[in-house]
Subunit: 133 residues, 2 copies
Amino acid sequence: MELTVIGRVESPLKDRASAPKQGDEGAPEAWLAFEAAVADALFGIAAGDEILLLTWLDRAARDVLRVHPRGDLSRGEQGVFNTRSPDRPNPIGLHRVTVLAVEGVRLRVSGLEALDGTPIVDVKPVLGGISER
Amino acid sequence: MELTVIGRVESPLKDRASAPKQGDEGAPEAWLAFEAAVADALFGIAAGDEILLLTWLDRAARDVLRVHPRGDLSRGEQGVFNTRSPDRPNPIGLHRVTVLAVEGVRLRVSGLEALDGTPIVDVKPVLGGISER
C-alpha cells in the first residue's frame, strides 16, 4: 500500500499557519502540476469541471487520534475521523475544486487550501446523479 | 507515503463482477471493522452521521490510464482521473455512506460497493456549510 506521487500542488501557501482550514474559506487559486507519466489519465478533464483532488498531507502528524475541532479549545475533543484535521493515521487530503484552465499536464484550480509542494495522489470527477454517469 | 490499514470492510460482496459500480446503485449494507489501535479516532461518530470512507481498492490495476466509462464500449475512452474507475495509479476508493449503528470499533453503514476484505485507510465527516463546521 505504497502511494505514488502523480504530481504536486503549486500554491502561494507555504505553511499551515497561513492556510485556510478549507478551500471555500478564502483559499487561493493553485496549479496542479502532474507528472508526464500520467498525462493520459487526465484525458477529458476540461475547464469548468468540478473535481475531487486527493493529496498526501506531508506536513501532518500521523500519531494524533483526537483533536479539538478547528483547533478551538472551547470545543470538546473529537476523534480525528469525526473532523477534517490534517493530522490522522493516513493524512489524505480531500479537496473539491473547479478546474479553471488546462495547460498540458497542468491544471489551474479554484480555492485550494493545500500547501505548496503537497504531493497529489488521485483525481476523481464529482459524481452527478445516476442518469448522468 | 506508505498507507496504514486502519480497518477492513466486511461485506457480502466478494468480487468485482457482482459489485455495483457505486454505493447508491443497489449496494448492500456493510460493516466497517476498525483496528483497536484507532478506537480513539472514531470518538464522536454516531448513528445517522454521513461519512466519507476512504479505502484501498486492493483488487484494482494500477497501470491503467484510460478506460471506457463504466466499462461501456460504446462510450469513448476517458482518462481514469475523469472517471470513477477503481483502476488508477493510486486506487483509493471514496464512498459516501450513512452510519446505521456503532458497536465499539465496528460501524454498520448503508450501501457500500467496496468488496469484502477491502482495507480502510481513512474516514472523514461530510462537511456542512461554513457556519456548521
